[in-house]
Each structure stands twice: as structure tokens, then as C-alpha cells.
């Protein structure tokens, strides 16, 4: 054994294998943006504001983690916002009617998982294209949330639930801790488990994966179910903050999530993506918004800046990768 080891080319240390060059690029982007705002906005670098940024990024990060897994598998999930809405109104309704918090939580996560399952089955077994499937469920799920509530918000979410998602431990918001835990779990899933390897394989070459015995349908469905569950979790963070669940919540969440994943290095062609990158991508978007708001920039211009940052990030990505 030792002679084989001696002949081995030096492998990069463990840290680098999970923190790629691409992630380093995303991190540099984040540092640049933070540096610019630090120069322009007094107080941007304060501990309080930095924690604020993380908290404001947490919902998008949570959604984007699931989105990253789906994108890696070669799909896309446009239905995350409405999935979150269904889960939110159901959970809030149960809570308001006095159901214990753990039960309501599980019900909410369960309905999120079910929404993801429907997407997954339509993609993996019926063989429809992911974009079309989730475009369809985007409308369908939204309609269900609206019909279920008659279009009215569910008010009066109990304090116990709210403090669970809106409280903080040692000054760090619970939502940030929750998303950090989820991110770690997603990282383990992608890097350390067979299903993570299967996601990369299916997204990279579905035909070859099939021949190699990879469970294609199970892999895809897993990604959509996780995406659905994380959409539900994200909705908890929002209703924890607002104390109410609106059936229209989560509008356009899918776009922010896709943007975070793409900035983080996920390829919409599938087979490529990074958990660390996605988290950094979500923080980049959050820091942008936070900084621009502190600078009193109008919402219209904020939207413009967000759009440009996505395009610039993608152009840098393209330029540094070179052609083919």
C-alpha cells in the first residue's frame, strides 16, 4: 500500500476539495461588494448590520439550497414560492386553531414535501420537462393557497411558534442558525452521500448514469422533495417574522433562489453546483439589498442593481472559465 501511496500525485488538502476555486471567486465577489458598501455607507460593517444581512438573506438561502440540488440534478423548481405559501397558510391555520406547534410544523413540512413529490413524479415518471412541470404547479399551488384561504391572510400566529423562528440565541437570529444547519446538511448530502453523487451524475449525464445503475427517478424525486421541504421551512421563517401567513407570500422567490444558485456556480445545464457557493450567492444578494436600502436608493434602482449583479457575475464566470 505504501508504495502506491508514494507514487500518488499530491492531492490538495481536504479543505480545498470542498471549497473550490469557483467558491473562492464567489467569496471574492462578496468581499468586493461588502468593501464597496463599507466605504459608502457608515455603519454597514457594524456587527448589528452584518447579522441583519445574514437574517435578511436566510429565507432566500434556504430556498436556494433546495434549488441548487434540483438544478444540479438537471432540473429547475419554479414552484417554490407557491409551495411556501401553501405550507404557510396550512401551518398558520393549524396553529391558530390550537394544534400543538410540533404537529403543525410537521404538517407544514409534510405538505411541502408532498408538493415536491408531485413535481418529482411528474418529472421522473411522467417524463415532463422540469421547467414546464413547475411552471404548471407554480400556478396550481398558488391557486390552492388562495382558494384554501379565500385570499385572506391567516392572522394571529401564536408567540411560541414565532419565537422559535424569529428569536435569537446569543444574539444570533434563529433563522440564521436554522439555515446554517440546513446548509451543512445539504453540504453533507452533496459531498458525502451516494444520493449527492447520484445528483451530480444524473445532471451530468443521465443516460450514462442509467447504464451505470444509478436510480434516476429516486434521485430526481429526492431533489424536488427536499426543495419542497425547504420552501416550507423558509415560509416558517417568514411567518415567524410577520406573525401572519398570506396566501400570496413567496412571490418571485424562485427567481432570487435561482440567481443565488447561479451566482454560486450552479450550471442550469445540470451536473454542477456548490452549496458553499449558493450560500455566498444568497448573501451577496442580501448584502446588495441591505446596502442599497441603507443608502436610501429607490426600489426601482435596487432591482436594477440586482439584475446587473447577476449578469456581471455570470459574465465573469464565463470569462474565467474560457471557451469549452
Amino acid at each position: 500500500m505504501s508504495d502506491i501511496a508514494a507514487e500518488m500525485p499530491k492531492r490538495s488538502p481536504k479543505l480545498f476539495s470542498s471549497f473550490s476555486l469557483r467558491d473562492a471567486g464567489t467569496l471574492i465577489g462578496l468581499i468586493l461588494i461588502v468593501a464597496v458598501f463599507a466605504a459608502l455607507v457608515p455603519g454597514f460593517l457594524s456587527e448589528r448590520n452584518l447579522i441583519n444581512i445574514l437574517q435578511q438573506s436566510s429565507i432566500n438561502a434556504c430556498i436556494a439550497l433546495g434549488m441548487t440540488l434540483v438544478i444540479i440534478s438537471g432540473g429547475i423548481d419554479l414552484s417554490v414560492g407557491p409551495t411556501a405559501a401553501i405550507s404557510a397558510v396550512l401551518t398558520a391555520t393549524l396553529l391558530v386553531s390550537g394544534v400543538p406547534v410540533p404537529v403543525a410544523l410537521l404538517a407544514g413540512l409534510g405538505i411541502g414535501a408532498f408538493c415536491g413529490l408531485v413535481n418529482g413524479v411528474l418529472v421522473a415518471y411522467v417524463g415532463l420537462q422540469p421547467f414546464i412541470v413547475t411552471l404548471g404547479t407554480l400556478s396550481t399551488y398558488r391557486a390552492i393557497a388562495l382558494i384554501y384561504t379565500g385570499g385572506n391572510p391567516v392572522l394571529g400566529v401564536p408567540q411560541g411558534f414565532r419565537s422559535l423562528f424569529n428569536g435569537n440565541i446569543a444574539g444570533i437570529p434563529n433563522s440564521v442558525i436554522i439555515v446554517a444547519v440546513v446548509a451543512f446538511a445539504a453540504w453533507v448530502l452533496l459531498k458525502k452521500t451516494p444520493i449527492g453523487e447520484y445528483l451530480l451524475a444524473v445532471g451530468g449525464n443521465e443516460e450514462a448514469s442509467y447504464v451505470a445503475g444509478v436510480p434516476i427517478a429516486l434521485t430526481k424525486i429526492t431533489a424536488y422533495v427536499i426543495s419542497g421541504v425547504l420552501a416550507a421551512l423558509a415560509s416558517f421563517i417568514l411567518i415567524g417574522r410577520l406573525g401572519a401567513a398570506e396566501p400570496i407570500l413567496g412571490n418571485l422567490w424562485e427567481l432570487d433562489a435561482i440567481a443565488a444558485a447561479a451566482i454560486g456556480g450552479a450550471s442550469l445545464m445540470g451536473g454542477k453546483g456548490s452549496i458553499v457557493g449558493t450560500i455566498l450567492g444568497a448573501i451577496i444578494l442580501g448584502a446588495m439589498r441591505n446596502g442599497l436600502t441603507l443608502m436610501n436608493v429607490q426600489a426601482f434602482y435596487q432591482l436594477l442593481a440586482t439584475g446587473l449583479i447577476i449578469l456581471v457575475a455570470m459574465m465573469i464566470d464565463r470569462a474565467t472559465r474560457g471557451r469549452g
Binding site: 492531492r11 458525502k192 451516494p194 453523487e197 451524475a201 451530468g204 448514469s209
Partner: protein, 538 residues
């Protein structure tokens, strides 16, 4: 067209005619294409170094060498895809300075790629005019009718049966290849470079391609022909430039050269014509009975494979060889019949169940069905056996790496970098990784589909040795191959397929190229087709 109908005499006479043409023009013409000191460096590595040779009008010039010798790099320079680092080349004596493929096209250079670069949903004519359609109404509209007329005229010279208005996706690969060549004719190319044009052609199709090439050459076109199939090269090429590691080893006159010498030049060592070795044990491991496919034309196939046995499968393209392997590997659905392994009938529900039964498929189209391009070799290797490497749901990467190091060392992966994405390896090394994949999975039955297709001569012999080693270990092996010398070199027994059925099973003493071919084409009198063995690619 369906039946290979070449014969030695006819091709000789064509060649004679061509060579006389050659001699008569030799003195009066300048080189159609001349490379002078072409050098190409990538970062620090030299891909080409000081390449010089020339091609006369009307000459079919083979570019020979193993994968990585620099042939493709040279063709990319010629076709304007990437410029040389230093050196010059001349088309009809004029210095060529191409900034894009379009420049090269305008200068009369046509490339015919190995991997067809066509758009499946567009018609034949649309593909032939891709990028520069015929316009009318002041350039606003495309004149489809005229395009189709001209496309038909160009196609008529090769294969009039192809309708210019059919979508490309409805054509067979060989026909698509012909469309590419017709496109070169249409553009009145002065220089046509063909990169492995015959890798998917049947012998009959090769014959018509040979005729087309000779016609083109006779009209003064210079043809650069890249192929790993030495018999073809010797049949249709006049001159050959042998490259190795980015250098020109020499240019030889193929009409007088000996094949073994040329191969020796290519690999830089003597590649001996090796003897078949047999490792057949007594016990039958695979027993296939009356197997029929639910999705293809494979019907009523029965055979056995013993431990340590290598069974070859020969047959024309479309005879059901690949489909038979896919059936055994659980990729295609079984219609009826049984596959017994070690006396137990398999219930195949997909590739997974076949893999669990110890069956491993090495697909012909590695890029499409074999590899996950962006993932490391090690991951590509362990993909089917990941579960074995997982403990409480977590893959132990140290165990994966240890296994990858051992097995990839055994198959002699080069360069030995197990963390490198597999797409960066040559075809031969990708194939080695797929062999290692099934070693890792503990497969005892290995199904090789065209194991050396698109693989250079050096790696080819490595693959042969690996297959022999596996047989020596007692693995049962089925090899589908279109190259008869390969089938005969490797097989203890050959099954010849025709129209989805097994037409014959030949033992070693009956195993001649002639016998295989006559069974493959369904010829009752083998003697009438005596020349088929000449260019053995069934």
C-alpha cells in the same frame, strides 16, 4: 447498397487509375496545401512541434498517429478553429491567415468531423447551407427550394437516395456522414479534411465513400484522411504522414509501404501480431435461452458463456449486436426468454438488477452512455458501487480513493490522476476507467461493445491485454466488435448475428474472416465474396 460488394480487383484498378492520374499531374502542380514548421503550444505544453508536410492536388493524404499525436490539433489549425503558435501554412501557394472557421471555409477548406456537427431538427438541405443560406428578396428570405435543388445535385453524386427535405434526425449515422461530404462538394472545397469518417459505416457504405473520395481526388481536391483503421487507409490513401507526440515522424508512400512498418512508426515500437490466448474453464456461467427484446428486433437468441471465456459477437451494423448487450445488461426491456447466471434465472428490471447480478456493460458510445464528463475518474469508477463504499449513508472517500488507486493503477490509467475530470482523458483511458468501474463493482460478466472504437493503436493493445487478464481471472466476457481482426484476436468463440438473430456460432478453428462475413451477410456461397476479408470491418 445493402450487401458489401467490394472486390479486390475493382479497388485495385481504381487505385491504379488514381495513381496514374497522380503521376501525370505531379510535375506540373504546386502543393495544394503546405505546412511549414507549424508549432502549437498550450500553456507550456507543446501539442505540435515544427510540423511540415505538403499535399498535392488530387492526393488522398492520410494523417496517422495515436490519439494525442497532434492530428486533431493540426486539423483545428487548418480549419481556423484555433491559430498556430508559430509556423505558416499555404493553400495553393498563398499564405493562409485564418481568424475563424469561416475564413477557412472561404479559402476552400472543408472539415468533416468525427462527431457530426449537424442540427437534428433541420432538414438535410438546411444543414448543408447552415450559416450561409441562399437568400433572395434582397437577402430577407431564404430560398429553400433552390437550396434543396442544389443539395440534391450534390447528394446525387454520392447517394441519390437521400432526400434533401428530410430532417437530419431521420437519417442513419452513415447517411448523415454522407450529407457532410456532400456539403463539402457543394462548397467546391479545395481541401477536404476527414476526421474518422468511417467509424460508423458498414463495409458497403465504406465502399461508396471510397468511390466518392476517389472521385473528389480525381477532380483535384486534396484530401486529408484521419482514421485508425489501417486497412482503409491503405486502400484509399496515396501518401501518409505519421505523427507522434506532436512531431512528424515521416511521410510514407502508402502504395508501397508495409502496414506493420507504418504502425511501428506510429507507436514507436513494434506492435506484434499477437496470438490468441484462451482461459476457458469448464463451468457455464451465463446461459441465455430464447431471449427476445421487447423494444428491438433481437429475437430468439440462445447461447452460453463459460467462466474465463471470451465470446465475440460479429455482424453488420444494425444486426442487433449492441441491442443484445443492452438486453443482457438490463438497459432494454426483455420481451421473452431467460438469462441464467450460475444456474439462477435473472429477473431484470433495469441496469441496477443486472449490475447486482454481476453484469457490467461497457457501452460503445462512451461519451453518451459511459461517462459523467465533469466528475473525477474515481467517481466515474465507483458510481455503480457507491453503496458498497458507504457506511451509515456516508460515502467513505478514503475507501473510494484507495480502491480507485488500486484498480486504476491496475488498468494503467494515464495520466494517473484519479481526481481529474474524466472528460480530460483520452478515449482509451476513459475506457480503462470504465473497465475499472466493473472491477470495483465485482462484476463477473463483462459486456464490451466496440471496446476499441476511436481508440489509438497503443491503447488498443492495452485493452486487449486487459480483456485477456480478466478472462484469465475467470471472468466471462462478451465482445461486440466491427473489426474482424479484433474479434478473432480476442474470441474463444464467435457468434455472428444477422437481423436480430444468431446466424452462426463459430469455434476457433472455424473462425476465419471469410466465414464470419459470409454468415453476417447471409451469403450461402462464401467463395463468391472472397475479398471481404481484405478490409475487415463488418
Amino acid at each position: 447498397m445493402l450487401r458489401p460488394r467490394s472486390n479486390r480487383n475493382r479497388s485495385r484498378s481504381l487505385q491504379d487509375r488514381l495513381s496514374s492520374f497522380d503521376e501525370s499531374t505531379e510535375m506540373t502542380t504546386t502543393a495544394r496545401l503546405r505546412f511549414e514548421g507549424i508549432t502549437k503550444t498550450f500553456q507550456s505544453a507543446k501539442a505540435l512541434s515544427d510540423v511540415s508536410f505538403s499535399v498535392k492536388p488530387g492526393e488522398v493524404h492520410a494523417l496517422l498517429g495515436e490519439n494525442g499525436a497532434g492530428k486533431s490539433t493540426l486539423l483545428r489549425i487548418l480549419s481556423g478553429v484555433s491559430p498556430q503558435t508559430s509556423g505558416e501554412f499555404f493553400v495553393d501557394g498563398k499564405l493562409a491567415t485564418f481568424k475563424s472557421p469561416e475564413d477557412a471555409r472561404r479559402a476552400g477548406i472543408a472539415m468533416i468531423h468525427q462527431e457530426l456537427q449537424q442540427i437534428p431538427n433541420l432538414t438535410v438541405a438546411q444543414n448543408m447551407f447552415l450559416g450561409h443560406p441562399l437568400k433572395y428578396a434582397g437577402g430577407l428570405l431564404v430560398n429553400r427550394r433552390e437550396q434543396e435543388k442544389r443539395a440534391a445535385a450534390a447528394l446525387a453524386m454520392i447517394d441519390p437516395s437521400i432526400d434533401p427535405s428530410t430532417p437530419i434526425k431521420d437519417l442513419k449515422v452513415a447517411q448523415r456522414q454522407i450529407v457532410e461530404i456532400a456539403r463539402a462538394l457543394l462548397e467546391n472545397a479545395k481541401i477536404v479534411a476527414m476526421d474518422e469518417p468511417t467509424s460508423s459505416l458498414t463495409p458497403a457504405e465504406f465502399e461508396s465513400l471510397a468511390v466518392v473520395i476517389q472521385k473528389m481526388a480525381a477532380s483535384g481536391v486534396a484530401i486529408i484522411y484521419v482514421s485508425h483503421k489501417m486497412d482503409e487507409v491503405f486502400r484509399i490513401c496515396h501518401q501518409g504522414t505519421v505523427m507522434r507526440d506532436g512531431n512528424v515522424v515521416g511521410t510514407v508512400d502508402l502504395r508501397s509501404a508495409v502496414q506493420a512498418d507504418v504502425i511501428a512508426m506510429m507507436v514507436g515500437r513494434e506492435l506484434m501480431q499477437e496470438e490468441h490466448k484462451t482461459f476457458v474453464k469448464e463451468d457455464v456461467r451465463v446461459d441465455v435461452r430464447n431471449l427476445s427484446s421487447a423494444v428491438t428486433h433481437v429475437r430468439d437468441v440462445s447461447f452460453t458463456v463459460r467462466r474465463g471465456e471470451v465470446v465475440g459477437v460479429a455482424g453488420l451494423v444494425g444486426s442487433g449486436r449492441t441491442e443484445l448487450l443492452r438486453l443482457i445488461a438490463g438497459v432494454d426491456k426483455i420481451g421473452s426468454g431467460d438469462i441464467n447466471v450460475d444456474g439462477r434465472a435473472l429477473k431484470l428490471t433495469g441496469p441496477r438488477s443486472a449490475i447486482d447480478a454481476g453484469i457490467g456493460l461497457l457501452p460503445e458510445e462512451r461519451k453518451r452512455e459511459g461517462i459523467i464528463p465533469m466528475r473525477p475518474v474515481s467517481v466515474n469508477m465507483v458510481l455503480p458501487s457507491l453503496r458498497k463504499f458507504a457506511r451509515v449513508g456516508i460515502v467513505r472517500h478514503s475507501a473510494v480513493n484507495k480502491s480507485a488507486e488500486t484498480l486504476l493503477k491496475r488498468v494503467n490509467l494515464r495520466p494517473f490522476q484519479i481526481d481529474r475530470p474524466i472528460k480530460l482523458f483520452s478515449g482509451g483511458n476513459q475506457q480503462k476507467a470504465i473497465i475499472a468501474r466493473w472491477l470495483a463493482a465485482g462484476s463477473e460478466i463483462l459486456l464490451f461493445d466496440e471496446p476499441t472504437r476511436g481508440i489509438d493503436v497503443g491503447a488498443k493493445s492495452e485493452i486487449y491485454h486487459l480483456i485477456e487478464n480478466l478472462a484469465a481471472e475467470g471472468k466471462s466476457i462478451i465482445v461486440v466488435s466491427s473489426e474482424l481482426p479484433e474479434v478473432i484476436r480476442l474470441s474463444d468463440r464467435v457468434m455472428v448475428m444477422r437481423d436480430g438473430r444468431i446466424a452462426a456460432q463459430l469455434e476457433r478453428h472455424e473462425m476465419t474472416e471469410q466465414a464470419i462475413v459470409s454468415h453476417a451477410v447471409g451469403d450461402r456461397e462464401p467463395n463468391t465474396d472472397s475479398s471481404m476479408q481484405e478490409h475487415a470491418h463488418v
